[in-house]
Symmetry: C2
Subunit: 275 residues, 2 copies
């Protein structure tokens, strides 16, 4: 496959440059991207190193590399412009139309996307992360009543990473409760969850996928067998149906998509830092 | 302050639209943004609701709202174009220059930024999140030897959220060890950490900031007193100096910036999902 280098350059974290560039590159097939990241490009020395890497890549690949930049420092940017690359200057491309629309010039100050707000949102977000840790795997069931949402599902349906993402990205208090074989004796919600039915959101996935994930952890176990995965998922999905628990099939969906989908469908208030 | 509505529209998660739009808006001062998010805009009905909200906001504010869109569905996009707004069509603006540079047309398929890769990167990322949880607050010290990086600092310097972010965003195995008053009896690394000195990264912050954060948790306690915060930080920062532990002052820095800075300065390999 055609290989091409792409650089992500930023005055600060590089998060915007990465998100932007990654999103755009996924729209072009047939190219294997060799990605390099340079954040905190705040000195002539750092820029020089990157410029040399860019020129070397251009030489080696016989094509100028792509450079996604959220650089605002005019001096740093000028050095990059002199490199042998296709510069994709995010702010140059985007600030113009926005300036016209708002009839107001931008401040052009780096590092504003991820400044720390010394306000309640900071504590809310930290609290949400701590909450996700404390309430992981129903470990601290008395915490469940504080939850904005309680993710349920059999073991290894991916509840924990989604809870953590919901906390970190959206400041949502997300707890999780794993259904145990004991719960599966009867077709009803575990008593603990019954008063919180409205807060429940179910995760599910295909038996084959669950088997793969469980095999990673306990190879050859009964727990990881296809039959057991199928049995547990059948019980769980029937419970979702009978109890009207909204659910999402995570078989081929990323943590980001699952989380965004839950925010959307459960109408959860975003307490995202910065918004 | 001038208030204006801004909408973030996406066929899928809306993460790109948010990151992009937020980053741009921070470059314009003096406007209070009323933000509304609409992800998974995959039906005419959903679009209609948003279009009505956009038009209502335009009416109310006497100015067309801004709309940041990563929509790719031409039908959905067409409805939005008919609304009374300043449409900031991310892909229209950005795909053109990129298509020219790559001399290849984009596929224009939604939801490619956050697809799930059924590969090792999935398990690595999940494992990193689980690791951050298991090894939180030095809870599981035997895990420390597996760490890519071990964040150290006195209680409430913000180690946990940064570990979780490093795991989720970069797939890095980040452990943390909180210095205890017991550790502070002597000016040396706790024995447990001595063999891992090369992996340590220190967090610090101002005594006043630490006091504020501790007060949130234990108001009026000795633990939260300015004198105690100052004493612990003095010991910690002297230890960083003597043991050559790289450190970052988190007093006014966001979780994103701290994490990106650690990745950058500790030269950690990114195992970010999707990269």
């Amino acid at each position: 496959m055609l290989q091409r280098s792409v650089f992500f350059l930023s005055d600060r974290t590089g998060i915007t440059a990465e998100t932007l560039g990654h999103s755009l590159l996924t729209q072009f097939d047939g190219i294997e991207w060799k990605k390099r990241y340079a954040a905190f490009m705040d000195s002539a020395a750092k820029v020089q190193v990157i410029v040399e890497q860019i020129n070397a890549a251009a030489e080696q690949e016989g094509k100028p590399p792509l450079v996604f930049s959220t650089l605002l420092d005019p001096v740093v940017l000028a050095s990059v412009r002199r490199a042998n690359c296709v510069l994709f200057d995010f702010f140059e491309i985007c600030l113009g139309p926005l300036e016209a629309a708002l009839q107001q010039p931008p401040v052009r100050t780096p590092g504003r996307s991820h400044v720390l707000r010394q306000d309640a949102s900071y504590f809310r977000r930290i609290a949400a992360i701590q909450y996700a840790l404390n309430s992981d795997d129903g470990a601290n069931t008395r915490l469940l009543s504080d939850a904005d949402v309680i993710l349920v599902g059999v073991s290894r349906t991916g509840k924990t990473p989604v809870c953590v993402y919901l906390a970190l990205q959206y400041g949502v208090l997300a707890a999780n409760y794993p259904f145990t074989p004991e719960d599966m004796g009867v077709m009803q919600l575990p008593p603990l969850l019954q008063p919180m039915q409205k807060k429940l959101f179910g995760l599910t996935l295909s038996p084959a996928r669950l088997q793969t994930i469980r095999e990673e952890r306990y190879p050859g176990s009964h727990y990881a067998s296809f039959a057991e995965c199928q049995r547990e998922l059948q019980w769980q999905n029937e419970l979702y149906r009978q109890c009207d628990i909204p659910s999402i099939d995570t078989t081929s969906v990323s943590i980001e998509e699952i989380s965004a989908s839950i925010i959307d469908r459960a109408h959860l208030e975003r307490r995202q830092y910065g918004t």
